[in-house]
């Protein structure tokens, strides 16, 4: 959903171009030094400033706030309402209380989808330690072609998921795929990756892991640049090995970036849909056993036209992501450096 909002934002911000003609600067100039630069001995003016700010700050955030309200909050409220209704295919919601939720908690598909999504998330999260290691390698001062490698790792992230999925679908093909051919060379008989329950979700998650590496490495790369080089110099003088430097300096000082990645990765993993849809295909017999939460939502809302039920699924997804994120924020104080 974030895509749509990012696209909408510039249009929504258009009115702010009129801001320079606003009278605010004049008012402030007339009142003398206020704000952060103001002398501490002027509580009166500080109080007045608070009062006089009036509607202006609101006006400035209005374009952004309007976008959030119109494209996030309002739809969420509507979804919450529709999840309590039986929704006609062509509109017309009839209130049905908690029926959808009652049906949902009794639906085995929900738990299967939740289990699959958790498995996917767990596998994609393995990408973070890998990215930490790769990013620190890329950050070695004497590495040649560093930007070339960076581009290589980042390419899958900027490529369209559907395009990536098409290629991997061919790689995973049981009879004619490259993967099973290579496995065959070393004497392993690969499974039919995308049509074997169990293997299918792992296959999709490996692609998810691979394509998320680039983004993680960019974030971690920025984090690495913030670690002062003298720490490494000092450690080297004290005789610390490369591995010890990595363990005792790099990793602890990267924890803010890692924590950020953890939250982002969990959220985006819970939204798994496009990769799954495109790699497995909608008539794949393993799909009922391999579907993710969002796929379950899609199936109910857009294939089976049960939009009230789909809204209830959406609310459950929202709740799960909300709880998962809140828990992470709570625990990050314990392990994040300076957090």
């Amino acid at each position: 959903m974030s895509d749509s909002v990012q696209q909408q934002a510039p249009a929504g911000q258009a009115p702010s171009s009129q801001a320079p003609s606003s009278p605010v600067p004049r008012v402030r100039a007339g009142r003398g030094p206020v704000g952060r630069g103001g002398a501490p001995g002027q509580p009166e003016s500080r109080r007045r400033r608070k009062r006089n700010d009036g509607a202006w700050p609101w006006l400035f955030v209005a374009p952004l706030a309007a976008g959030i309200v119109v494209f996030y909050l309002w739809p969420i409220l509507q979804t919450a309402w529709y999840s309590l209704t039986t929704f006609g295919v062509f509109g017309g919601a009839t209130f049905s209380g908690l029926d959808n939720y009652r049906q949902l908690v009794a639906d085995a598909a929900l738990y299967r989808a939740l289990g699959n999504t958790l498995l996917y998330t767990a596998i994609v999260l393995l990408g973070i330690p890998i990215a930490v290691y790769l990013a620190s390698l890329l950050n070695l001062p004497d590495l040649r072609f560093a930007s070339f490698y960076r581009v290589l790792y980042f390419l899958p992230y900027v490529a369209m998921p559907t395009a990536i999925a098409m290629v991997w679908r061919i790689i995973y093909n049981g009879d004619f795929g490259v993967l099973n051919y290579v496995l065959g060379l070393v004497g392993i008989e690969g499974p039919y990756w995308i049509s074997t329950p169990g293997a299918a979700m792992v296959a999709v998650a490996l692609v998810g892991l691979w394509s998320s590496l680039g983004f993680s490495m960019i974030v971690l790369g920025a984090g690495l640049k913030n670690i002062p080089p003298d720490l490494y110099e000092a450690a080297e003088l004290d005789g610390a090995s490369r591995w010890n430097q990595f363990r005792s300096i790099t990793v602890p000082l990267l924890t803010p970036s890692i924590s950020f990645l953890l939250i982002i990765t969990v959220i985006s993993s819970f939204q798994l849909f496009d990769l799954l849809y495109a790699i497995l295909g909608s008539t794949n017999p393993t799909l009922p056993r391999s579907m993710s939460l969002v796929y379950f939502f899609y199936q109910a809302g857009f294939v089976q036209n049960d939009k009230g039920y789909a809204a209830a699924i959406a609310m459950v997804i929202l709740l799960i992501i909300g709880v998962a994120t809140a828990v992470q924020f709570r625990f990050q104080r314990r392990w994040v450096h300076g957090g």
Binding site: D3, S4, Y192, S195, Y277, A278, S282, V303, N305, D306
Partner: protein, 437 residues
């Protein structure tokens, strides 16, 4: 065009739409208030040639746009002041968009409808019946295949005028038959002949990884046909036909085919679909629709492919499906929309469609061009199939039980579970879904 009816892969593009799925679905759907005035509006009156209006014609197949434009040019000779805007939406987004338009009373004046979606729109009063047009003598349903009229009729009221159709046959790679040293079957073959031929070819050409025949997950081209051939049904009145022994036989056909090695396994067919096996020259016989002709035209198989009628079980049968033109019940220019509907249903427009060659026109007597449209193949079998064609099984919410078929039937085909156990569960699921309609 019905060729796109079962092409799930193209729907993959809908992924992009899901990014905004929640918001769009709910905000947009919220705009619709459910009152829609179908049926009772002004009585049908044939348009006079000075009628002036601008109407929209909603379609999903870009390939047919040139011939549609020819149709409209001919239409404008009769009605010079009616402007028709052709609105093309790719199949993958067509139904999502149409549902949104249906919710907000902004449907195109005239648009394409397919079987699986028809009852949903008709039952919600979004379509204008053709009853009065037929009474006025402007459209005669007798000109179109009976099964197609039936497909677009709900509660004895017909809403759609058939535009084109497709039937199912067996596409044959004659070169593989030669290599295997197996004689090409004749047109009046039985299930046993088919099974034996498939197993024999698989066995003789196993070194090359070639299979005799292939099953699949697409009911329209595979198991619906065999269900009808064994005397069964998919929907019987208001309930599922899957719990009858006849229907189970129609399913068993594919289980046997896979068990004998005549077909690749279900897993192989998931990775590489039957049509891909055939186009790659690795499959000797393929249960496929008449629309598959264009896939062959684009391949290097031209000249080595021909078509046979489907094998006969207890009886001879094939599934027929076709697109129809429907008028929106709340169209503001209904008279003009109906005039175009009438024109497109007529012999002149249908002949233009047939000569363009991409689909088989529905109007009896305009279909000859199709039979000779593939070099070295006699496609008359797809036209002859009209005599024993049965409409694609549909209901008000077809997608719901289609999903149950996709989920359960592979277990029967692969032999993982006994056929009667799977079909009993499927019948139960389907009856629940049908009852909810």
């Amino acid at each position: 065009m019905s060729t796109a009816l079962h092409r799930p892969s193209r729907r993959g593009r809908r992924t992009a739409g899901l990014a905004t799925g929640l918001a769009v679905a709910l905000t947009v759907a919220g705009c619709g208030d459910s009152s829609s005035g179908g049926g009772e509006a002004a009585a049908y009156e044939p348009a006079s040639s000075d009628l002036s209006a601008t109407i929209t014609y909603g379609v999903w197949d870009q390939n047919q746009v040139p011939v549609i434009e020819q149709n409209i040019a001919a239409f404008n000779e009769e009605f010079p002041d009616v402007t028709v805007n052709v609105n093309v939406t790719p199949y993958s987004e067509y139904w999502t968009k149409l549902q949104t338009q249906g919710s907000s009373q902004t449907l195109p004046d005239l648009f394409w409808m397919n079987g699986p979606n028809f009852q949903l729109y008709a039952a919600n009063d979004l379509l204008e019946p053709i009853t009065e047009v037929v009474e006025a003598g402007d459209i005669d349903p007798a000109n179109y295949p009976e099964a197609l009229n039936e497909l677009y009729t709900l509660d004895d009221v017909q809403y759609g005028v058939p535009k084109d159709f497709d039937t199912i046959g067996v596409w044959v790679n004659t070169q593989l038959f030669e290599q295997a040293g197996v004689e090409l079957p004749s047109g009046d073959w039985t299930w046993e002949d088919f099974q034996a031929t498939a197993a024999e070819i698989s066995q003789k050409l196993s070194g090359q990884g070639v299979y005799g025949a292939a099953g699949g997950m697409d009911g329209q081209t595979t198991y619906y046909n065999t269900i009808f051939q064994s005397g069964g049904s998919v929907i019987d009145g208001d309930s599922s036909g899957y719990d009858t022994p006849e229907t189970q036989q129609g399913i068993q056909f594919w289980t046997d085919l896979i068990a004998s090695g005549g077909s690749p396994s279900m897993q192989q067919l998931t990775d590489t679909t039957a049509d891909q096996w055939f186009v790659s020259g690795k499959l000797a016989m393929y249960f496929g629709g008449s629309w598959f002709r264009s896939a062959i035209t684009d391949s290097d198989l031209v000249g080595t492919v021909t078509a046979l009628p489907l094998p006969i079980g207890e009886e001879q049968a094939t599934v027929i499906h076709g697109v129809s033109n429907v008028v929106a019940a709340d169209s503001e220019n209904k008279q003009a929309a109906q005039a175009l509907q009438v024109f497109l249903a007529g012999e002149e427009a249908q002949r233009q469609l047939g000569e363009a060659g991409s689909v088989i026109p529905a109007y009896t007597g305009t279909q000859d061009a199709f039979a000779d449209s593939l070099e070295g193949a006699d496609l008359q079998v797809f036209l002859d199939a009209l005599d024993y064609a049965r409409p694609l099984p549909v209901s008000a919410n077809t997608a719901e039980w289609n999903a149950a078929e996709t989920e359960l039937l592979p277990e029967a085909f692969s032999g993982a579970r006994p056929v009667d156990e799977v079909t009993a569960e499927l019948a139960e699921r389907m009856n629940t879904a049908l009852a909810a309609e």
